[in-house]
């Protein structure tokens, strides 16, 4: 009998119409026998008798449920330790083919419960005759902020959150109009997207600003910053109060500057569509940490 070779592992959120799941997919040259058991921080699956052709390491996921996957080759086979941030129902299925796929699905119901009642107002900075910053090659801030806002909207919509965009096209809006929408909709949080811009093109990295009038908003900014940095692997430029958000009163609001558009490298990063998804996921994870923490306190 030929030994099954593990060749690859990947993870993706799959949006079933009824129930979104996090899928961890193990690819191998042929099926293998496995033992899967639950532990306090996730599950462990052992592929009995299999060998790893892939590189064994810890793979960061941070999709709101799965934190990381540790792959190790041991004498009894290949072990997959999947760390989750919340207990979640799971199941294992096989998908025959070349490569053979062993799929572990985790139900994301707790995220649905946490986010479905929330109201978000998402603001794409600048617009119309106000292009914002311009990249050294050609990107405009008003366009990349729109892509960021849309990516966050796409992430939140399947969780049945109420999401409102301050602008849906290329037109200018005053800061008052942007903040007023959040107040009118009684939003749980206002998230404004910008990029940093400076004549010093060496400045790079992520910063998050917060509404200094909203209690606890600095913590939201800090979590958001940490999670974005973790996802997009850029240096941190820290958190600071944003006087422009004072219009919101006590409503929590953050201004997110994931990258500096004036930096050659970071303008290059903005050309990759997956960057926008990672930024959205970072913000989502920041909110999850804050609201999860508050829920735990209750």
């Amino acid at each position: 009998m030929t030994v099954s070779r593990i060749t690859n592992i990947w993870s993706k959120v799959h949006y079933n119409p009824s129930r979104p799941v996090s899928r961890v997919v193990i690819e191998s040259t042929s099926p293998f026998h496995f033992d899967a058991k639950e532990n306090p921080s996730g599950i462990t699956l052992i592929a009995r008798g299999a060998r790893a052709s892939m590189y064994c390491e810890t793979i960061e996921v941070y999709d709101g449920l799965i934190e990381w996957i540790r792959v190790e080759e041991q004498s009894q086979g290949v072990t997959f330790e999947i760390k989750t941030n919340h207990p979640s129902p799971w199941q294992v299925a096989s998908e025959p083919g070349i490569p053979h796929r062993t799929v572990i699905s985790f139900v994301r119901d707790h995220l649905f419960n946490l986010f479905s009642s929330k109201v978000f107002v998402i603001d794409a900075g600048h617009g119309g005759n106000d292009p914002g910053g311009r990249g050294p090659v050609n990107l405009l801030e008003k366009n990349v902020t729109m892509a960021m806002a849309t990516a966050l909207q796409d992430l939140l919509k399947p969780l049945k959150s109420q999401v409102y965009l301050t602008r849906t096209g290329d037109y200018p809006l005053s800061q008052w109009m942007r903040c007023n929408l959040a107040l009118k909709m009684n939003a749980d949080v206002f998230i404004s997207f910008h990029t940093y811009h400076n004549t010093d093109t060496s400045i790079q990295g992520t910063a998050v600003k917060y509404n200094p009038r909203a209690p606890g908003c600095e913590r939201l900014a800090l979590f958001t910053l940490e999670e974005i940095v973790r996802k997009i692997k850029r240096p941190s430029r820290g958190v600071e109060p944003d006087p422009q958000l004072c219009h919101l009163g006590r409503l929590p609001g953050v201004t997110v500057e994931p990258v500096a558009i004036s930096n050659w490298v970071e303008e290059g990063l903005l050309r990759n569509p997956t960057l926008y998804k990672k930024i959205a996921q970072g913000i989502f994870n920041g909110l999850l940490r804050l609201w999860g923490e508050k829920k735990g306190e209750k």
């Binding site: 070779r5 690859n8 892939m54 050294p136 050609n138 692997k233 290059g268 990759n272």
Partner: protein, 219 residues
């Protein structure tokens, strides 16, 4: 006729200039590749192992590079001064200027691609600050050197046909080098969905199995 194939991407460590691509291809495909299969390798990692990933801040673009980088498409590979400077160093000033003249002529008659035809095909494989493949997302990656020699050396140690390919997410597959004409055709068809990935998938080595042979072996 379309040849049905299976692709098996293999997750590797983050490949750096410390690695030897021939040794890596042998190690990662061992037990996976069988007679009749093809090993496909992403051109960018071959270039990285050849120390051809360069930080833009380490390049001092000259006046010519600063001027010429204004003309290519802004989403193309030579839109920044450091990338254009590296292209000038690769091809030489004269070839670049001839390429520019050819490109200008091409514009007049409504044809594209004349620049690379004259200045050199290898310049088309320069990845300007690509924003993908951490930690090389902030590098300019030049095309690999002597790809023909590399595929031959990998074939020698693995026994399988080998291709080095440049694939993107808009279904363009360029084969830089291959050990047989048949493998070029098969690789072009089977890599079209970019199994190498365009982000942090870490799967720069793909084993291609031709469907009929793989099914026969499985039976």
């Amino acid at each position: 006729m379309c040849m049905p194939c299976y692709t098996i991407p293999i997750r590797t460590h983050v490949i750096t200039e410390q690695d030897n691509i021939i040794e890596l291809a042998k190690r990662y495909t061992e037990g996976v590749v069988e007679p009749g299969d093809i090993i496909a390798i992403a051109e960018s990692v071959v270039a990285i192992t050849q120390k051809r990933a360069i930080l833009p801040e380490e390049v001092q673009p000259g006046l010519l590079a600063r001027f010429l980088c204004r003309f290519p498409g802004k989403h193309g590979s030579l839109a920044t001064p450091p990338a254009m400077e590296l292209a000038i160093r690769e091809a030489g000033t004269i070839r670049i200027l001839l390429g520019c003249m050819a490109a200008a002529l091409g514009r007049l008659i409504g044809r594209r691609g004349f620049f690379y035809l004259v200045a050199g095909r290898e310049l088309a494989f320069i990845d300007d600050i690509a924003g993908t493949m951490w930690p090389y997302e902030r590098h300019i990656i030049l095309g690999p050197q002597k790809p023909g020699k590399i595929v031959a050396a990998i074939k020698e140690v693995t026994g399988a046909d080998v291709v080095i390919a440049d694939v993107n997410d808009i279904k363009c597959v360029d084969i830089l080098a291959a050990t047989s004409p048949a493998s070029v055709k098969i690789a072009k068809e089977s890599l079209v969905d970019n199994p190498f990935g365009n982000d942090d998938q870490q799967t720069p080595i793909v084993v291609i199995k031709v469907k009929k042979e793989a099914q026969d072996r499985a039976a």
